[in-house]
Amino acid sequence: MSAAARTLALAALLLFIALPLVQTVVLSFTATLPQDGLDTGQFTLMNYARIFDTPALVASIGNSFIYVTLNVALCLAAGLPAAYAFSRYRFTGDRHVLFLMLAFRVTPPVVLSLPIFILFANLGLVNTPVGIALVHCVFNLPIAIWILESFISAVPREFDETAFLDGQSLPGFFFSKLIPAIAPGIGVAAFFCFIFSWVEVVFARILTGTGGKPITMAINALFSFRTDIGLVMAMTVFSLLPGVLMIVFVRRHIARGFVIRT
């Protein structure tokens, strides 16, 4: 492939990726409904100002942060020992458990939505960020285990043995040796748990009928007979920012998380 063709292909790719995003950002700075003496189409910061004036929208940003953070913490806390077990030991039924985990990652959310709602209603977990954080483990915990397993397997076994010979306990070894050694892996696992939890809408919708609405549902609620598209787009830009920050943080390691043995 010639250099010119390569440049052209990459430019086309970037254009394709950028267009919807550029459109969103442009609209978020545009007055789309005639109000406050602004003509439609005019440049304005009003859409962003309105987000901060609307308590429900501000609260939704907080709710999203709470459940996504909780979900990442849960997935790492439960995923790390499990990944260690899969990486370092053979045990009865290990392959079946691994397949079962995969099966839950590929279960469509709609399949589980009804019983999850009933179960969580009984446990008092509906309309709370805790409920969403828990339910997102259905697909994030398997992903976390899988990514962490590949990073742990890249660490030589002698690394553990030396630590244990020095008399370190398993929890002590996890915190002082293993976690620092696979820090990039933890970052990548956290990244994928974060984005899948942040963008998910099926569970987030059924579990937040009245309270605890996340950003995604708050945006849904903005659609009405006369939807202020500028405001919607400003919220969408807001919903993008944390993900963009995450991408910046894990950029060097993002591709490594998926180098898996075949």
């Binding site: 267009l19 260690y84 995969l102 259905v138 950003i215 995604t216 993008l240 898996i260 075949t262």
Partner: protein, 280 residues
């Protein structure tokens, strides 16, 4: 040698506890509901396999299944080769990380926002709509246009994942492999066929699996673009299920959900068998 120790199960306990609560119990509940005719959750009657019989003898189910299968086929045929091509292209650029970051952007957009972004884009006031019209293509909600928009949108959304995974696989290929191929005078195609493809097979297996499942169950996007229309042309399996739930027909919805789950899990199981056999 990997030591055999059943004490490793203890390390799995937290994960199993969580998955038991949010995955196993709900799945068994759906299974139970699917054998019942449900008026309210307290008054329900055992009817065995009746719902399943009704579903698999209905024209509507097979039509939706065909549409979902076609959609997955189209999506995989476009996204997988395109993703690999982009990953290969990125290998020869100076700042691959920047491109990977750009490609990851659509992955962090909340799913329910994506249809709105695209509808605005191709609409008469959007950045692309007017140029489409000038080029003689007016976006209408015909079957073909709706399909094209959903496929384009899905490709925009997920291409990054395919590229990231393929690129990860390619990065793991040691340099000497390429040098050896160069000395042997191997063609570009031969290098791809005999060095690169086998090395990214593992990552590709995951790509195929994830893309299959997510495209087979596409809901939000299809629903928002045209609510399954026109005339059911984009009514996929998940939209049928949504309709049952909205109609409070829980027994039927549960049976439908189980049917979809069985289809997905059968495909995944067969896929895992094939990849394991090839790996041996």
């Amino acid at each position: 040698m990997t030591p055999h120790s059943n004490r490793a199960w203890l390390l799995l306990l937290p994960a199993i506890a969580i998955m038991g609560l949010v995955a196993v119990i709900p799945l068994l509940t759906v299974l139970n509901y699917s054998f019942h005719d449900i008026f309210t959750l307290e008054s329900r009657y055992w009817i065995g396999l009746e719902w399943y019989g009704e579903i698999i003898t209905s024209q509507r189910f097979w039509a939706s299944l065909a549409r979902s299968a076609l959609f997955s086929a189209v999506v995989l045929t476009i996204q997988v080769p395109l993703g690999i091509a982009v990953a290969l292209l990125l290998r020869s650029t100076r700042h691959p990380t920047l491109y990977l970051m750009a490609l990851a952007l659509p992955l962090v957009v909340p799913w329910n926002m994506i249809p709105g972004m695209w509808l605005t884009l191709v609409g008469p006031q959007g950045l692309v709509g007017p140029s489409l019209i000038a080029a003689g293509f007016d976006y209408k909600f015909t079957a073909l246009h709706t399909w094209a928009l959903i496929v384009t949108m899905d490709t925009w959304h997920w291409l990054g994942l395919v590229v990231i995974l393929s690129y990860a696989g390619l990065s793991a290929i040691p340099r000497p492999y390429y040098h050896a191929a160069e000395i042997d005078g191997a063609s570009r195609a031969a290098i791809f066929r005999h060095i690169e493809l086998p090395k990214i097979a593992g990552a590709l297996a995951i790509v195929l699996l994830l893309r299959f499942v997510d495209s087979f169950m596409i809901y939000t996007e299809a629903f928002r673009i045209n609510a399954g229309g026109p005339q059911g042309a984009t009514t996929f399996l998940s939209l049928d299920l949504g309709e049952d739930i909205n109609a409070y027909s829980y027994g039927s919805a549960a049976a439908r959900a189980m049917t979809y789950f069985l289809i997905v899990i059968t495909v995944v199981w067969a896929f895992v068998q094939v990849t394991r056999r090839r790996a041996q």
